[in-house]
Symmetry: C2
Subunit: 481 residues, 2 copies
């Protein structure tokens, strides 16, 4: 999967614009683009960055094959000079991105691309597609894992994913966000996401009886017995047959079954009754897994109802983020080099105030309280500003500027890391276990006011005084256009 | 894309079960699986089949590489005999599927796989993933195209797709369902889905003024001018600048601009006003394109409000089927060869009546009225039943059996075509233009009662008397388990 050439996965207008910049002699001027998002899915308080490793691979592999160039030539709208440029394409941009697993918030750059206009524009579609998808799923997984309160959560959604990559990269993003594994074999083979699974209803139906089916399974996989108990009747047939096989097949081998799985019906009621039956039969260590169109809300409700569930298999509602299947990241011009070489901040205005962009080539700092380790807020600065940790810093709301908060005793860390310097890769992705652990650790830096499901507090994403002035100056003057 | 090896894109339990069937000596027994779905997304009256061509390619390419086998061996739970079986894997199933572009309905087989249990079980995940995704998007596209009432609909959603394949195969499915093109270049290169596009807001911002930006574009692409007019102010700046460039740059070349695009704001109001301005300026032939988080409901409402829109660009709400992002197809065992070689119908019961499966190896007929050409209903039969078109046929509701309808003067056509015969491919996919035209033609066979958005009639999907008896016999007897 990592050798895929995704260069041509782009919107056609990226080509018409790129060719146009070259034709107009401005292709080499430096442009600064930011990817950011405007609101968190499911009205949550945070999102979880994912996809940075695939961005790295995309940029590193960016090239046009002879076939690609022939395809473009046949479209009969691109200049020979442009096609020659593509043939000898050499990526030359600076790229910064938030490391995977980091909590991110609306209005702040999560990817910044600076480089020749022709290139920085071109990569828009893939930057958005990559980060929007994986961030969507990592964020959903983080919510489900929180709802499960430490119980195991497994991603089971491949069959309902929106396309092949959605299954595989979705499993990867879900693992980063807090899932403990997946059912997807390819995600294990290619990304080392632990994959597992036991039996479907069809297995049970293939044999003359449910008992025969469980017995056959236990004989082959004595160490990995999770019996699917709802093919016929959970309490009258499934659980009793699981116990019988535990007694008759596994006990003589000295092996304890891992558990049972409930895939339909009233999970709260059935899990409580099944727990009683397993305990009474001498199997308090058999786990109960539930997997029936669950999401964070149903998981939370099941636990409130006292459901005796030890692990959750989450399918379609995770792999598609069903309750909100779009992460609305956008990629907007922030600044451009003028004909004189000066940096010109650019703003996109809109009648919808939320859609106004924050101009300029920026740097983002996250402030952490030294005592608690908690994140205090993020500050967007002009790229060359220095944030002096030894002095108190006053955060202020960029819209309601009278809302202020002065912080002391903090450390300030850059939110984004540099991936490419003039086209040279200067960052190596951590491995998937490191990313997942980093995510768990970073989530601990958020107050629960931010992470709760209902009406979370809005995390501070503020502008430095200097950047605020640049933005307001542009807003005052854009009426002139 | 077509050479992808997706063999390992499967749920882990497909491997544990396959290995188990082999170990238990029943791997070669013939099993019959059906894919079907239970309800239409968005409470619609029909879905549009898509993904059959990718199923063909998947089955034709099914094989395990040495690396795949090493991966499985390292999992330490599969027998050497099984790994040897995979090494020499030879696909041996019969496969039937509904041709792409055909309207399909809940409760009927849309894919049937019959073959060695070990194989027919294994392919479950990919059959579902492929057909669920593309059918979801083709169905959504069909709805949006209907709402647009013949106006052009373009798929613009790559940046918000759920993964790379979702963008490309989504564009393909959208085209089958009724879209006229896409913005996705890779979908054009690989699947000949016509791709197009002109400019983003960034293009407009790169120049010193909106006029300069439009002028530059017109000079390079005089034949392909669709000016994006909402970067600053649609009516005060965007439309006047588009007209000025049409007059000053294009008119001297004798070229008419294609149109303008509105990407924000009140599309109904702005399009009506822009239409007046373009007409008054002598450009009644300039088209107005709208593209602002639209779906079938918003398109319908815009037209009800008298919006002057000639074409629609549809993004995230199409490429993710946002209002309902899951097509819930399932893959269930319908029959299995017994130890004596006899065919044993299998049923999956459930407390939820809707979830009870229809057992047996089946054949599906669609009846068409000879006079009107309209579809009358689908009939599920036992595989060896013959439907005699020369005699009246009485459809009856499988649940409310007193609901009957006798049809005469009809033709009966098999709904599914055979793709593989004992592992040999016996079907070639039509090309994409043929599929799209077939879809449009097939949609004409549905009464508008079926295709309307609100409370559509339920299309008849009935069982033959013989099949109904098989099902009821099994239901009566499954209490015994």
């Amino acid at each position: 999967m990592t050798e895929k050439n995704l260069t041509m996965l782009t919107d056609f207008y990226e080509f018409t614009m790129a060719n146009g910049y070259l034709e107009k002699g401005i292709g080499d001027r430096t442009a600064y683009f930011d990817m950011f998002f405007r609101r968190v899915p499911d009205d949550g308080g945070y999102a979880v960055m994912a996809g940075t490793q695939q961005l790295l691979e995309y940029f590193a592999n960016l090239h046009f094959t002879a076939e690609d160039i022939e395809y473009l030539r046949a479209r009969d709208c691109f200049s020979d000079a442009f096609l020659a440029y593509l043939k000898d394409f050499k990526f030359a941009c600076d790229v910064w991105a938030v490391p995977e697993g980091t909590p991110i918030f609306p209005g702040e750059p999560i990817v910044t691309v600076a480089g020749p206009m022709i290139q920085a524009q071109f990569v828009e579609t893939m930057v958005l597609l990559t980060v929007n998808h994986q961030t969507l799923i990592a964020t959903k997984a983080s919510r489900i894992a929180r709802a499960a309160q430490g119980r195991t959560v497994l991603e089971f959604g491949s069959r309902r994913a929106q396309g092949y990559d959605s299954a595989v990269y979705g499993a990867r993003a879900a693992y980063i966000g807090g899932c403990h594994g997946t059912a997807c074999v390819m995600a294990d083979r290619d990304f080392s996401i632990p994959a597992g699974g036991t039996m479907a209803h069809a297995w049970v139906q293939m044999f003359d009886s449910e008992f025969e089916a469980f017995k056959a399974y236990a004989e082959i996989y004595p160490d990995n017995c999770i019996f699917l108990v709802d093919t016929y009747n959970v309490l009258k047939s499934g659980v009793p047959n699981a116990i019988r096989v535990a007694n008759e097949v596994l006990a003589p081998m000295g092996i304890r079954p891992r558990g049972i799985r409930l895939d339909s019906g009233d999970i709260a009621y059935l899990s409580i009754k099944a727990r009683e039956m397993l305990d009474a039969a001498g199997y308090p260590d058999m786990q109960i897994m539930a997997s029936n169109s669950l999401d964070e809300y149903l998981v939370r409700d099941l636990l409130v109802q006292g459901a005796k569930v030890d692990s959750f298999g989450i399918g379609e509602r995770l792999i598609t983020s069903k309750s909100e299947p779009v992460f609305g990241g956008v990629y907007k011009l922030a600044a451009v080099e003028g004909a004189d070489g000066n940096l010109i901040p650019k703003i996109k205005v809109s009648e919808n105030v939320e859609k106004i962009t924050t101009p300029h080539f920026k740097k983002v700092w996250r402030l952490f309280d030294k005592e608690t380790g908690k994140a205090l807020g993020d500050v967007l600065c002009v790229y060359d500003e220095v944030l002096d940790e030894s002095r108190p810093y006053t955060l202020f709301d960029p819209i309601h500027t009278w809302k202020k908060k002065t912080v002391t005793n903090y450390t300030a860390k850059p939110l984004l890391v540099q991936l490419f310097n003039k086209g040279q890769q200067v960052y190596e992705s951590p491995d998937i276990e490191q990313i997942r652990a980093y995510c768990a650790q970073q989530m601990e830096t958020l107050w629960t006011q931010i992470t709760r499901f209902e009406n979370p507090q809005t995390y501070y994403v503020d502008l430095s005084a200097k950047l605020w002035e640049v933005k307001n100056h542009l807003l005052e003057h854009c009426g002139a256009l």
